[in-house]
């Protein structure tokens, strides 16, 4: 894997982003930077707009106003598959694995970017697939269909896909929810490895324990507005934010 950026270089820039659905202001004037090598977690109550923000970055939704820049290029109006090929990848809360394909095929197909019929560099690819299977400890399941995997294995397959995508920005939607403690430790280690290699990681997470263990930085979103961002210590210790998070609005 080539390291694309020096530690903490800002690769994703969001400026004054707004998204309205009719009268509903889903995202209001959000500005944020996601630096390389840092794991940022998006927290906030349900309906705060976290997934909407992801969709705005990946091109599934078009901003009403404001900009998103990746590696200096504006993303507005570019189709999702093109944005994906620019190095941005995401996972879904409901995983959306390629259910009837095997673990190996799930990984391989992500590596095969182009839709053309023949691909070069087979041995390279096979090596990388084996590497990923090792890292996610899915090697023994390589020929199992995704739909037949256990819960934790599916979570790791979802991660394996994003690892295979060679993306430099990972948007993970509740990637660790429901994992048992051992699997969770493995998960965190894996993420940290990749962050160390210069990947920009942004995670949506509800479970505060997970947030504390995983994040370097936290961004708090509520009703479409970015209320605060900073180190996880600062954000999570703020009583005002805690009140909002747990439903107390004053």
């Amino acid at each position: 894997m080539t390291s694309a950026a020096t530690q903490n270089e800002i690769l994703l820039q969001i400026r004054n982003l707004n998204k309205n659905f009719g009268g509903l202001k889903a995202i209001q004037d959000v500005s944020m930077d996601l630096p390389a090598g840092v794991i940022t977690t998006l927290v906030g109550p349900n309906g705060a707009g976290k997934t909407t923000l992801f969709n705005l970055i990946t091109g599934h939704l078009i901003p009403t106003s404001g900009t998103v820049h990746w590696l200096g290029k504006p993303l507005k109006g570019i189709e999702p598959w093109k944005i994906a090929r620019m190095g941005i990848a995401r996972t879904f809360q409901d995983l959306r694995l390629f259910s009837h394909m095997t673990v190996e095929e799930n990984i391989m197909t992500v590596m095969e970017r182009s839709s053309w019929l023949w691909q070069g560099g087979r041995t390279e690819a096979e090596k990388r697939v084996s590497e990923i299977l090792e890292e996610t400890q899915l090697a023994y399941k390589r020929n199992e269909r995704a739909v037949d995997l256990a819960y934790a294995e599916r979570k790791f397959l979802s991660l394996a896909r994003i690892m295979a995508s060679q993306a430099k920005l990972w948007l993970l939607d509740e990637p660790a929810s429901g994992l048992d403690p051992r699997s969770f430790e493995r998960f965190v280690t894996l993420l940290r490895n990749y962050a160390a290699r210069g990947i920009t990681i942004c995670i949506i997470e509800h479970n505060l324990d997970i947030v504390i263990k995983l994040s370097d930085r936290v961004a708090f979103l509520d009703q479409g507005k970015l209320l605060a961002q900073g180190s996880s210590q600062d954000i999570l210790k703020d009583p005002h934010l805690a009140a909002i998070y747990f439903g107390d609005r004053s």
């Binding site: 990946t58 694995l97 009837h100 799930n106 197909t109 053309w116 019929l117």
Partner: protein
């Protein structure tokens, strides 16, 4: 007897080709088309027209059939695939209906309701396939080629892209798959190869008319794919064999009134479709392979 068997064998090759190509988009891409008979027909009419008025060269006629079928399918696919898959069903149904009307009305090209008569046998490097046995060989070789092409596509990266899109279009898109391009190419391949079947059909029977390309045929092809098993390479071939032997098998049952055999056949495969979807959605070859998503 030999002539009878040869006849069945050629028709089997043609039907198998049609079922295989339909399965390519239905089983592997998850695109449902009710218009497959039209691409079959376009291939047949294209070959018939060229063979009768220009040249009986196998290469030229068949290439034309492939090209015209593929291009027509892209005209359908490009707009219709931009929206949800359900709409493609509707659009394909529309194409089937309009296609039949065009086949029946465009007298100068298709011969209208009367069809086209007297299509010559094809010529390849100077050899004319007048002998039925040799034609069977030709049909069989074409079938193998079609199987080969489909297998190559399905087992390689294109096939994986197709199946990824089938299993989760949004995820496929999020991982860089150009969904529309992949779907359009698969539809074009499916239609183009169906055109091969049409070309062979026109050459073999030497008479074609709109009756072979109506909704009933599209439905029969769908039944072959479903009953044999979607998403498997040989399922459609099994389905083709089964459904082709159905009429013959039914004649052995004495209590069935002969005039109703066609109707009863349809009832049988209608029932088979319902029961299979309830208990064995993967078809006879595929089994229970269509379980819930991960």
């Amino acid at each position: 007897m030999l002539a009878y068997l040869q006849n069945i064998a050629v028709l089997f090759c043609i039907n198998a080709m049609l079922a295989l190509t339909l399965n390519f988009i239905m089983g592997y891409a998850g695109i449902f088309s009710l218009a497959h008979a039209i691409f079959f027909g376009v291939g047949a009419y294209a070959t018939a027209y060229i063979a009768m008025y220009f040249t009986d060269s196998l290469l030229i006629c068949m290439s034309a059939s492939i090209l015209i079928s593929a291009l027509l399918s892209m005209a359908l696919a490009l707009p219709a695939l931009r929206v949800r898959g359900e709409y493609f069903v509707a659009a394909s149904l529309g194409l089937q209906v309009i296609g039949v009307t065009i086949f029946s009305e465009w007298k100068s090209v298709t011969g209208g309701l009367g069809g086209m008569i007297g299509i010559p046998r094809p010529k390849l490097f100077g050899y004319v396939f007048n002998d039925d046995g040799m034609f069977l060989l030709l049909a069989f070789v074409m079938l193998l080629i079609v199987i080969g092409i489909i297998a190559l596509l399905v087992r390689g990266s294109f096939g994986r892209s197709l199946m990824a899109i089938r299993d989760s279009e949004s995820a496929a898109q999020s991982y860089g798959k150009h969904v529309n391009a992949v779907k359009t190419i698969s539809v074009a391949v499916s239609a183009g190869l169906a055109g091969v079947a049409g070309s062979l059909y026109a050459f073999y029977i030497s008479f074609i008319n709109v009756e072979s390309f109506m909704l009933e045929t599209s439905i029969l092809l769908m039944a072959m794919v479903i009953i044999g098993g979607t998403g498997t390479l040989f399922g459609p071939v099994v389905g083709a064999a089964l459904l082709m032997s159905l009429p013959a098998a039914l004649t052995y049952l004495p209590f069935l009134p002969p005039s109703e055999l066609g109707t009863i056949q349809q009832i049988i495969y209608g029932l088979a479709m319902v029961l299979l979807m309830m208990f064995r959605p993967g078809g006879l070859v595929g089994g229970r392979s269509r379980e819930k998503s991960a």
